[in-house]
Symmetry: C3
Subunit: 109 residues, 3 copies
Amino acid sequence: MKLVIAVTHDRDRSKITEGLLRNGFQFTKIGSTGGFLREGNVTLLIGAEDKDVDRVLGIIGDSCKTRKQFVNVLPPDAGPVGTIIPSPVEVLVGGAITFVVDVERFERF
Amino acid sequence: MKLVIAVTHDRDRSKITEGLLRNGFQFTKIGSTGGFLREGNVTLLIGAEDKDVDRVLGIIGDSCKTRKQFVNVLPPDAGPVGTIIPSPVEVLVGGAITFVVDVERFERF
Amino acid sequence: MKLVIAVTHDRDRSKITEGLLRNGFQFTKIGSTGGFLREGNVTLLIGAEDKDVDRVLGIIGDSCKTRKQFVNVLPPDAGPVGTIIPSPVEVLVGGAITFVVDVERFERF
Ligand SMILES: Nc1ncnc2c1ncn2[C@@H]1O[C@@H]2COP(=O)(O)O[C@H]3[C@@H](O)[C@H](n4cnc5c(N)ncnc54)O[C@@H]3COP(=O)(O)O[C@H]2[C@H]1O
Ligand SMILES: Nc1ncnc2c1ncn2[C@@H]1O[C@@H]2COP(=O)(O)O[C@H]3[C@@H](O)[C@H](n4cnc5c(N)ncnc54)O[C@@H]3COP(=O)(O)O[C@H]2[C@H]1O
Ligand SMILES: Nc1ncnc2c1ncn2[C@@H]1O[C@@H]2COP(=O)(O)O[C@H]3[C@@H](O)[C@H](n4cnc5c(N)ncnc54)O[C@@H]3COP(=O)(O)O[C@H]2[C@H]1O
């Protein structure tokens, strides 16, 4: 058993979850926030058999589109909105990042 | 050190957390949502010594009751409520699922 | 690749996230709650190269201050506020706890 921890972009999320449900993969959704852009995103916990990890990652990969976006980045913990004029920076957003972690023991109660 | 990641059903949650506290186990609670039923549940992070993992799983197991429940399951990302008549499906809910993951290094600051 | 899972105290959080951003470390923030004091805290997921784990833990350690605090601790799942007179207990709070977990596979989509 492996645990796939996927941080997914809001835009791609419903395509990913639909793909997982259609293929019978169980998962849990956790609301989260990006460290740099501070935008809401969703972290998925997906417990899958070792032999299914490639298919889970395939579903995530097929559902994501990376796009270029200009974002106004505030310096960390900037003051109230309006006090600082942020400078637009072009970043690649969207898509997902996934961590696959080994599960020593899985139990259902 | 191991990290027990437990996704617990709302009904069983306070029994599990009371059992952990009574036995001196520390844990952190994270609000989460089920992938299939989209109901709120709680994910617990429980860092425990290797020798205590069986006791932690025992406390979780003793606190959970699996029940049969008829649920109206909407197709993934169904439209606004009322546009589709969901079909009742009997599923087993409640209980908890647990992933035990090895911790290479644990630090308190 | 390792995943550092850090449960951080609200007071230390912005120092930790500023330190991570200044050093170019990416991370994801998840709102969470302490098991014992039931106060809000923040769980950080920080994926870092093996060689950078010491620096990540160093940034977290430098940003945290452990303090003594008197807290009124209610028995687990106590009734409505006012029915029980909690007894003040001195605990050490603040700081952070970190779990380092091995990542078998990391992918960006
Ligand atoms: N110092 C910097 N300078 C310029 N651009 C920067 C940057 N830090 C981040 N970015 C860009 O901003 C996007 C959003 O990052 P954020 O941290 O808000 O949101 C991140 C974060 O929540 C999570 N994430 C990415 N890498 C992570 C890691 N190593 N550990 C934990 N979470 C990670 O995935 C989300 C998307 O990351 P992704 O890399 O696709 O997309 C990133 C990246 O393209
Ligand atoms: N395709 C399907 N067809 C018919 N019935 C289905 C189904 N998918 C799920 N169910 C049923 O619905 C219950 C709730 O699933 P949900 O995904 O909302 O909520 C799940 C999910 O949040 C989490 N979970 C279960 N397995 C997981 C896994 N492998 N990875 C991550 N989270 C998991 O634990 C909660 C309870 O799971 P549990 O298995 O006890 O109970 C499940 C299961 O009995
Ligand atoms: N049975 C008990 N008797 C007396 N004092 C007690 C106690 N249980 C906890 N405390 C004290 O209360 C502080 C807050 O614990 P809490 O569980 O709310 O909030 C915790 C919890 O969210 C998390 N945490 C700590 N150890 C953990 C573990 N092994 N697994 C998962 N999360 C943990 O980190 C937060 C801070 O923990 P930290 O140890 O620094 O600080 C703890 C500790 O000093």
